[in-house]
Symmetry: C2
Subunit: 209 residues, 2 copies
Amino acid sequence: MKIPEPPVLSRAHVHSTDITPLLAALRQIHPLTTGVETFLRTHITSYPVRKRKLLLKEGAPCEHIYFIVKGALRGFIREGHKDITTWINTEGHLISSIFSLDQGGPGVENIQALENGELLMMSYRDLETLYEEFPETNVLARKLLQHYYADAERRAFIVRLTKAENKYRHFLLHHQHLSNRIPLKYIASFLGMTLETLSRVRKKFSSKL
Amino acid sequence: MKIPEPPVLSRAHVHSTDITPLLAALRQIHPLTTGVETFLRTHITSYPVRKRKLLLKEGAPCEHIYFIVKGALRGFIREGHKDITTWINTEGHLISSIFSLDQGGPGVENIQALENGELLMMSYRDLETLYEEFPETNVLARKLLQHYYADAERRAFIVRLTKAENKYRHFLLHHQHLSNRIPLKYIASFLGMTLETLSRVRKKFSSKL
């Protein structure tokens, strides 16, 4: 029996990664042309992660940008043996290392999965091609960077505040969705306070409700 | 005696603001077309500032982006009566409020001159026109935002570190030019330590040299 030839498929058909959630998130920022959508569909791969997986290790350059379809991840830096959480992100967010994105080299940041999850991944090389082939994506990237940079400043303000109550109030204002999902030791570190202080403040806040 | 009529000048000639230092800084990031240069020359005004002048007050939207030709400025937020310095910038840097730039609305940030100085100023409205009329400036803006966002993360890392020696080491690594120029009370606040701790750490570091 003759085995039939496989049908000739375009690259877009070979790639079956569902990038719908990413497209929806990007369209909220700036319209996408068909060309851009096709490029994204053919250059993005699905990347499942297990809880505790290290996506990036300090001293190594980050070479990909990720979109969280499902799960939660954190960035952290080290000070001696101390591990300091710098950000926590969940579904619908892009993550990468801004140091590698800016300079191409390694940074001091680690990225770790806090839950089993599903990411979408694109290489920086393909991202550069996207900017060159579809210059309008620079508008999208500018708007996204403005947004993420403002978020980063908000996170920095939380750490700069000195009173634990003020830190927690700001956390609830901008990150309430993390409050009952992420282990408290990471939230305490993210807020720049001890676990004991966080527990005390949470008790105080919940008794006020 | 008849007074001669003034010669008819194009807008570019009427505007005599010298934007050379800004053009040089931008060209290091991305090439500028003649059209972009002409737009910048005709939409930027010189803005002298006196020491202690508040350029932006919390609760008010920022409506301009500034370039520091000469001088030093700081961003700060308030926690009760406490004033917390979030950044310090000098010659050659762009400054604005990332919150206003992102959302158009007011932020929690104040901007203040630490020295008499000279700024260049462009309105957000003109900046939007620049992006629309010269789409290639979105590439420049993307690269600038990547760079300033990475800087902001570096500043946030300093505050997240818990040991004063580590904070000061990072400060010297990225901000040494501020060390003997800016009053120590602002540097201490920027590093998230008391003036006494900063003085102690500086003494320790200078005795090592």
